[in-house]
Amino acid sequence: MGSMLQSTWLDGRLVSSNTGLELEMMSVWNSVDPAIVQLICQECGISYVIADQGFTVVRGGGAVTTLASEGDAIIGRSLLSLFPELIGSEDMLFGILMGEQPRLDLKHINRTASDGSTRYITLSVLPCWRETAVTGLLVVATDASEQGRYAQALNQQRNELRLQHSNLSETNAHLDFLLRHYVPMEVADALLDERLVSQPGGELRQVSVLFADLRGYTRAAEQWSPSKTMEVLNAYLDVASNAVAAVGGTIVQFMGDAVMALFNAPNDQPDHAWRAVRAGLNIQKMAEMHRFDGGADLPPLHFGVGINTGHAVVGNTGARWRYDYTAVGDTTNVAFRISTVARAREVWIGPTTLELLPGCVEAVPIEPMHFKGKEEPIVVYRAISVDKDAEVGENGTVDAVTGSRSCSAV
């Protein structure tokens, strides 16, 4: 052991990562009892091997069980068979031999013990000096199992938190998507901002209610396949919805081939009458642009639009466990009746709606209508155009900015 150990370890270095202690063995190495070194290594769970330039192990010591089982010979074995983790790093090992690389470290190498538990080994490869030349490799393996287990436990908690956070974010995004696609977006925002209470009930409020009913759809649907029926319906409902949304209206219901929209609820819109008429005219214009010809024998589809303004109870109607945001009352009923009699491609409005748009809308009166449930006939008007820009007056009336009554629609 003496001469070989002296010449190999002269000016060598012994590193222990377990204790953080770095012992520099300089020329005093010769005076240190190797047995003490062995004892220190065993106490610290350190083992070491020295390999020659052919990667053959020529010397080993310390806590040998870190490397192999008791009794197994390590002298004469290939370094790479003892430490397969070094396979593939031969160029780096040669770099250490050539003095081009100071060291190679691999932390927390997982090894499975006979009892199935995981041990963690930290590996350091250093040059082994002999006088002024590197004659081999010193490989120090430290049993860092205790540290490793703590690190693994900490890592486990941290990763589980990260995964939970990721799952929560995904769930939230999904819920938000569902909310905004099954509930009117304005209602969803109002619920999330707590401007609306998610329970049955409502408030009395002046609103403008718009119904757009697709004429000719029922007849056309008889001749189409179910998928085509759905495709056509969705296309027209999309047109109507976009026209309403463009002026800030709220789509509250799709009822087969009809759409119901509210203005001035849930958000405050003093110019709700103007918005509703503008939405109705835009529906007609956009439907014309996106007209779908269902077939040579079928007429193209068009909307009949009815609008009425007045007070209604606006809020959540339905059962305790399931409700819709909508407006109920006479104002809504009349708006619906108007939409059922309005001619295709036309927008018919109620008298209150017109009263709120003095000098801003071009409209012609239709003969008085007798609606079901109403004792008195109602004068309905056909809206032809509405001023693009308008100002809201004190009583909610909307006046044209230009003062002209005849302005083209959007």
């Binding site: 069980t65 490397l67 192999a68 089982s69 009794g71 197994d72 068979s81 003892l82 430490f83 397969p84 983790e85 396979i87 593939g88 790093s89 031969e90 160029d91 780096m92 691999l106 932390k107 927390h108 190498i109 997982n110 090894r111 499975t112 013990a113 006979s114 041990r119 963690y120 490793g148 690190a151 693994q152 890592n155 486990q156 941290r158 990763n159 589980e160 990260r162 995964l163 990721s166």
Partner: protein, 209 residues
Amino acid sequence: MGQFREEIQRDTRSGLQFGASVPMGLNVLYGRSELTVFPTCFRKVCLLGDIAVGKTSLARRFVNGVFDVAYQSSIGLKVSRKAIHFPGVCGMRELMLLLWDLAGDEGFESQVNHLHGAAGAVLVYDLTRPETLAALRDLSEALFRVSPEAKLVLAANKRDLVEEQHLNLHYVETVAASLGASYYLTSARTGAGVDALFLHLAQLLVAST
């Protein structure tokens, strides 16, 4: 090389033989006898990817044929190996794949440090967490910086947890193409696609030898 590849293809059709898996730790710690057939070719293959994408599960499925549903985070480095035999191929009896299972959250720099000498890599991402794709580009670039000739395969893992209608194959194909890698839909739980992935990688490694 043409005859060599032809041999591989013929063997592929008939089914390549997988050598007996040798648990790395046991063999080294307790000095059991080395493989009776000394491998003639070792190849280091790194498994790279974000946390909890299934790197360890893929390695265990391929090497040991087992799967543990419980999530156990990895730290450091696990090296396991599996032999793939190419009988009848001149000059080679066995390809020993050394699978380096690197912890996904060791930090980018740490994973990069372990890439030296890698002949190939399996880039793993979780089909149920599309955000885990983001890290793969940087990792592949880092791999090519230290091993320009490395072969890549993309594992879109946890296929068993994704319903058919939610599977965005176009996105997977786009990412794989941008990485210059083939991709496999894998499930470490069921084993689907796992052997095929590693076999394909092995073929790429052999072809480049």
